[in-house]
């Protein structure tokens, strides 16, 4: 049954289960009570140059320079990486090293903008009519706008779409299954701007040549579902389906969503494009529409500001670069007992050391938790192999064995046990009765593995270079030897010839003497 369904049916026509996962308390209603509000313009904006996967962008503005909203601030070399635009009009106060709200915890260069308060847009370039435009032209518009995946992976959208269009895509999956607790920015976007999402979907479909789209939302998102449904009816066409998937964490993970919608698994180390699918976040689709229709680059996004440590949780439309402190202040400030500031959700978000950190393109949620929400500082106990971690693992790993391999830095074993296939969702960690920080170990292990692989790659390259050099030297040596030998032979030949000539001359002379002497 499974087989027939996944072969014949369209993605989303029949829902499947993914292994493991957790049903978590949602906590979403608190931030969905009121419409999305525009965050006020801060006194300074700190726009990091590294907000996308891949290398950071290089600034193309200078301190003191006046910029308009949407003006290019920085870009990466080549045509792949991210582009950073001014979130408001004003002057460049500095380009300084500051916190950049990156999971690595590093600091990095930021363009500091002093707003002029006018918020004047730069004139957009000529806009293509997306219905008749060449897909390459649309791709270029997306790339220019500095779009990245807004679900959190921040992979440059233009690059992703171009690679997808080269592979051939039959279905575009729009991911609205925002499965982490507390986060509701996508849900609010779907409620308030469903038509932008549909428009973005059609543009992306045109770019990659997909014949249809599936919008996946969680079955708990009633209002968002109704809004999308109404927008779909109004827009007409039968190429976009709305599918409600059960709200099980980490349903919104790309791999899990593909499995739920198609019953198929994304190959290890591969991408959904291997199955003819392209996954994009719904917010990315809306940003695509904005970039292509209005020529507006990505300079703001919806951020959920929520948690038991925030007085008035809500969703804010915030400019990239706004200090998080400003957002929290706009939401009534911190509640008593606010203990942890998290960028992202409670399962996979990372804790920020300070609220001076800016909003970045990846920032879907600012979550403030109190000590009650967090794990108490408690002794880690030994693993009792209860197997709960394996039961909830969506990648079907055996975390109890994997953690041992990672702790012992046994990378071979860790790789065999599937460390590369860990999606770092943290389910195993939450259910562990021994309170082993499994997710932290696996993140550490995965970066260890990546480093080791990079190291091996470098070593292989170095060896290749070394061997090539050795071969070249050896070749040169034999060549030289051959030439020397040749020269010697030449020399000897010539000598012999000359000797012969000299001898002949000598003989001739001798004969002459003989003849002359009586």
């Amino acid at each position: 049954m499974n087989r027939a369904a996944s072969r014949g049916a369209k993605p989303g026509a029949l829902l499947h289960r993914f292994p493991g996962g957790l049903r978590l308390r949602h906590h979403k209603a608190v931030s969905c009570a009121q419409p999305v509000e525009a965050a006020p313009l801060p006194a300074r904006l700190y726009v990091p140059l590294w907000q996308h996967s891949g290398p950071g962008a290089e600034p193309c503005v200078e301190p003191g320079q006046a910029v308009l909203k949407g003006q290019l601030l920085a870009a990466t070399a080549g045509r792949t990486g991210g582009r950073i635009h001014a979130p408001t009009s004003g002057t460049i106060a500095a380009i300084a090293v500051r916190p950049i709200s990156h999971p690595s915890g590093q600091q990095g260069r930021c363009v500091v903008i002093k707003p002029d308060g006018l918020d004047r847009w730069a004139e957009p370039g000529p806009l293509p009519d997306w219905r008749s435009a060449d897909p390459a032209e649309l791709l270029e518009a997306i790339r220019e706008a500095g779009l990245v995946g807004l679900g959190g992976a921040v992979f440059p959208t233009g690059q992703k779409a171009r690679e997808a269009s080269e592979r051939g895509i039959h279905t575009l999956i729009l991911n609205g299954a925002e499965c982490e607790p507390w986060i509701s920015c996508d849900e609010m976007l779907m409620r308030e701007r469903p038509e932008a999402i549909l428009l973005g979907a059609r543009i992306l479909q045109r770019i990659v040549g997909a014949s249809r789209s599936v919008i996946a939302i969680e079955d708990t998102m009633d209002a968002a579902g109704q809004a999308l449904h109404a927008a779909l009816r109004q827009a007409g066409g039968s190429d976009i389906d709305l599918v409600r998937v059960p709200a099980i964490y980490p349903e919104g993970g790309e791999r899990q969503l593909v499995q739920v919608l198609t019953g198929r698994e994304v190959p290890s180390g591969g991408r959904p494009t291997d199955l003819g699918l392209l996954c994009q976040n719904v917010a990315t689709a809306a940003a695509v529409a904005e970039a292509v229709i209005e020529g507006r680059p990505l300079v703001e996004r919806i951020v959920t500001v929520t948690g038991s440590g925030v007085r008035r949780p809500r969703n804010l439309l915030a400019r990239i670069g706004t200090p998080i402190a400003d957002l929290v202040a706009h939401c009534g400030g911190y509640a008593d007992g606010a203990a942890r500031l998290i960028l992202g959700g409670p399962m996979m978000g990372y804790a920020l050391p300070s609220d001076a950190n800016p909003v970045v393109k990846a920032a879907n949620c600012v979550l403030v938790l109190t000590a009650d929400d967090l794990r108490p500082a408690q002794a880690e106990m030994p693993c009792i192999r209860c197997g709960e971690c394996a039961r909830v693992c969506p990648a079907r790993l055996q975390p109890q064995e994997l953690q041992r391999a990672v702790r012992q830095a046994d990378w071979e074993e860790a790789a065999t046990l599937g460390l590369r296939d860990c999606i770092e969702c943290g389910c195993c960690d939450v259910v562990c009765p021994s309170h082993i920080p499994l997710a932290a170990w696996f993140r550490h292990g995965r970066s260890g593995l990546r480093e080791r692989e990079a190291e091996q790659h470098r070593a292989a390259l170095a060896r290749e270079r070394f061997e090539a050099r050795e071969a070249r030297l050896a070749r040169q040596k034999t060549e030289r030897r051959r030439r020397i030998a040749e020269k010697k032979r030449d020399l000897a030949d010539r000598q012999a010839k000359q000797d012969g000539i000299a001898a002949a001359v000598e003989r001739a002379r001798a004969r002459k003497r003989d003849r002359e002497e009586p």
């Binding site: 996944s6 072969r7 292994p19 791999r255 019953g263 198929r264 698994e265 994304v266 190959p267 290890s268 180390g269 591969g270 199955l275 402190a325 606010a338 203990a339 942890r340 998290i342 992202g344 409670p346 399962m347 990372y350 804790a351 920020l352 050391p353 300070s354 609220d355 001076a356 979550l367 938790l369 009650d372 929400d373 967090l374 794990r375 106990m381 030994p382 009792i384 192999r385 197997g387 709960e388 039961r391 969506p394 990648a395 079907r396 790993l397 055996q398 109890q400 064995e401 599937g418 296939d421 943290g426 939450v430 259910v431 562990c432 009765p433 021994s434 309170h435 920080p437 997710a439 932290a440």
Partner: protein, 348 residues
Amino acid sequence: MTRRFETGPAPHFAPRSTVAGVMRQVIYALLPALLAQAWFFGPGVLLQAVLAILFALGFEASMLGLRGRPLRPFIGDGSAVVTALLFAVCVPPLAPWWVAAVGMFFAIVVAKHLFGGLGHNLFNPAMVGYVAVLISFPVSMTAWLPPVAATGLAPDAGQAAAAILAGQLPADGSWDALTAATPLDRLRTAVASGQSLAEVRQAPVFGQLGGLGWEWIACWYALGGLWLLWRGIIAWHVPAAMLSTVAVLASVAWVLDPAHSPTPAEQLLSGAAMIGAFFIATDPVSGCASPRGRLLFGVGVGLVTVVIRRWGAYPDGVAFAVLVMNAFAPLIDRYTRPRIYGHGGNPR
């Protein structure tokens, strides 16, 4: 005005359970059967439980001290108490106190701490302790009380204490009156000597389906086990695999030779099958972790149990079966790892 925060790794979540919580629930699940055993065989079992717990905690504390481990979290985790309870319900109710001492020494010191403590033991500690005393003191260990209902003799708490601690019998009793072979033992002896089982079943130690009293205790174990299943403390694989293996093999033997084979009900309800299936073979530390591994493990325990009961030198085989399968658990786990996401398996 910036505010600084403590950081920490994701997930930022309060843990859902603790080792101590897991152990506590196992203890709760054992209590009904423990009380049932006290009801059918007198209060001796409760005294055995207290003794075993005291010895277990004493050995646990000393070993933690010797190994330089913190006392509080490990004494409080409840694992030693679970081991002690599982041991106590297996020994005869009036067994002398040093049985508990020796058993807990082997369980806690040898099987647990010499292998690395909580989470590192290869073998089920309670069963190591039980088998150690079973082999060392066969006379004390096979002298079960007949159920109170069968004889009307019921040593009260004081008499039980005197018997356990000082080896003194009640004034009006004798060891002969107070000890009896277990129902499984009787069945095995009968089978070995070629007696008809119908005759043996006339003995007062037999009840409706299995041993008198035993059948009810087994039901309470099953009920406690089902509660653990419902709470998600244990998985269904081991109990289901073990019990169905025992049931199927017993049925086959019984159908082929009803005169000389115990009924499937007797196999399931007379000895340690239920406690073994729900409380002993499900020990996660010494068992298998993968679902398929757990099924194999359960089948193995059931198989070895039936084989020992039929052809072995001991009337019940659960303890040995669990230990044998413990030895195979790492190997089974290695060969039953589930297919990882994305590694094949897509229908073409």
